[in-house]
């Protein structure tokens, strides 16, 4: 029951985020506003306990949620046949650049443990 209550909170906050995005013409997708709202709402224990139970489950299986959209690649096979090689080069190289820059900025500025 507790994780279910957590899901109810997540959906309610997402809906509220969706309403705010549309109503106030905010540049964020609804779920992103929902996430920010959740950060505020987590101060309250009645939100925190159920959301923790649900979020831990949902986030530990996050990769599953990408499968349906990933399978969508078959719709774009003609595009892939035409540009696939170049697209892969772009995606791979830009991902490596992103990983390298992020990791180095954080790692070079790390706090060394006191000796």
């Amino acid at each position: 029951m507790i994780p279910l209550r957590g899901l109810a909170w997540l959906l309610a906050l997402q809906s509220l985020g969706e309403l705010m995005a549309r109503g106030l013409h905010l540049p964020f997708p609804g779920p992103v506003i929902g996430m920010v709202l959740l950060l505020v709402a987590l101060r309250w224990e009645p939100v925190r306990t159920p959301v923790a139970a649900c979020a831990d489950f949902l986030l530990s299986h996050l990769s599953l949620l990408f499968v349906p959209v990933g399978v969508g690649v078959i719709v774009h096979l003609p595009l892939l046949a035409q540009y696939g090689g170049r697209m892969l080069v772009v995606l791979v190289l830009s991902t490596w650049v992103g990983l390298t820059v992020t990791a180095l900025v954080l790692y070079i500025g790390r706090q060394r443990p006191p000796k």
Binding site: L59, V69, G72, A103, R110
Partner: protein, 241 residues
């Protein structure tokens, strides 16, 4: 045989098929991933996508028919993005202490990934809408779709690019970080995890979580930050360009 074909036609047309296939194939792929000692190349998303895609192509089942069932899983991406607030909240003390450096890393890394993708895509003469669909590729799929729509890309293509990007990060991150001589100590794990969450969103974060708890937590943090930064900044930057 005729009866089997009839049965298959009935079953494959009902939403039950897409939902069951997604879940069963993923559970099997996850089991294989565990059995293979979580080798990067055994990534469960990669193999699930490849096997389901192959079945759809072989049986000529249209993607929309599959998605009619699979959408129930896809739908959970929304609440999952909201749920990202939870790891952020859990680490709020650390976030407050290191926010400058973390924000800098998230901005620099996310910006570098997006800018490289757009510049390289243009240099290689990819069509304009394809290039625009690549700009938000470091953010988690549902947000990438929203951002792509806002800047004139193709949402469905943006989602596919995001998934491929996540897979590239999950598959190759380990070797890249080893090559950069990032240690396997707490500071190293934090940097590795944060980088995976920034440049390879949920799929990279899942990989980070698999390897180290600290890396996983920082990946979750980076993922949440990147969602906020990208959905705010990418549309802004493209409005100026």
């Amino acid at each position: 045989m005729a009866q089997f074909v009839e049965l298959w036609v009935y079953l494959s047309a009902s939403p039950l098929f897409g939902l069951t296939a997604t879940l069963v194939v993923y559970v099997l792929a996850q089991a294989a991933y565990a059995r293979l000692g979580h080798a990067p190349w055994a990534n469960p998303v990669l193999w699930s996508v490849l096997s389901i895609g192959a079945v759809l192509l072989a049986t000529r089942l249209p993607y929309p028919t599959y998605f009619a069932g699979a959408q129930f899983i896809h739908f959970l991406l929304g609440p999952a993005v909201v749920a990202l607030g939870w790891p952020l909240w859990q680490r709020r003390a650390e976030l407050r202490q290191r926010w400058g450096r973390l924000l800098l890393a998230a901005l620099a890394g996310g910006g570098a990934a997006s800018a490289t993708a757009v510049a390289l895509g243009r240099a290689l003469d990819l069509p304009a809408d394809v290039v625009l669909s690549m700009a938000p590729k470091s953010v988690t799929a549902p947000v990438a779709m929203g951002v792509a729509q806002a800047i004139g890309g193709i949402p469905a293509l943006a989602a596919v690019f995001a998934v491929i990007t996540g897979l590239v990060g999950a598959l190759s991150g380990k070797y890249l970080f080893d090559g950069l001589r990032i240690a396997r100590d707490p500071a190293g794990w934090r940097a590795r995890g944060f980088a995976l969450g920034t440049a390879a969103h949920g799929i990279g974060a899942a990989r980070a979580l698999q390897v180290d708890a600290d890396a996983g937590a920082y990946a979750g943090l980076a993922l949440g930050l990147q969602v906020v930064l990208a959905s705010l900044l990418i549309p802004l930057v493209f409005r100026w360009l």
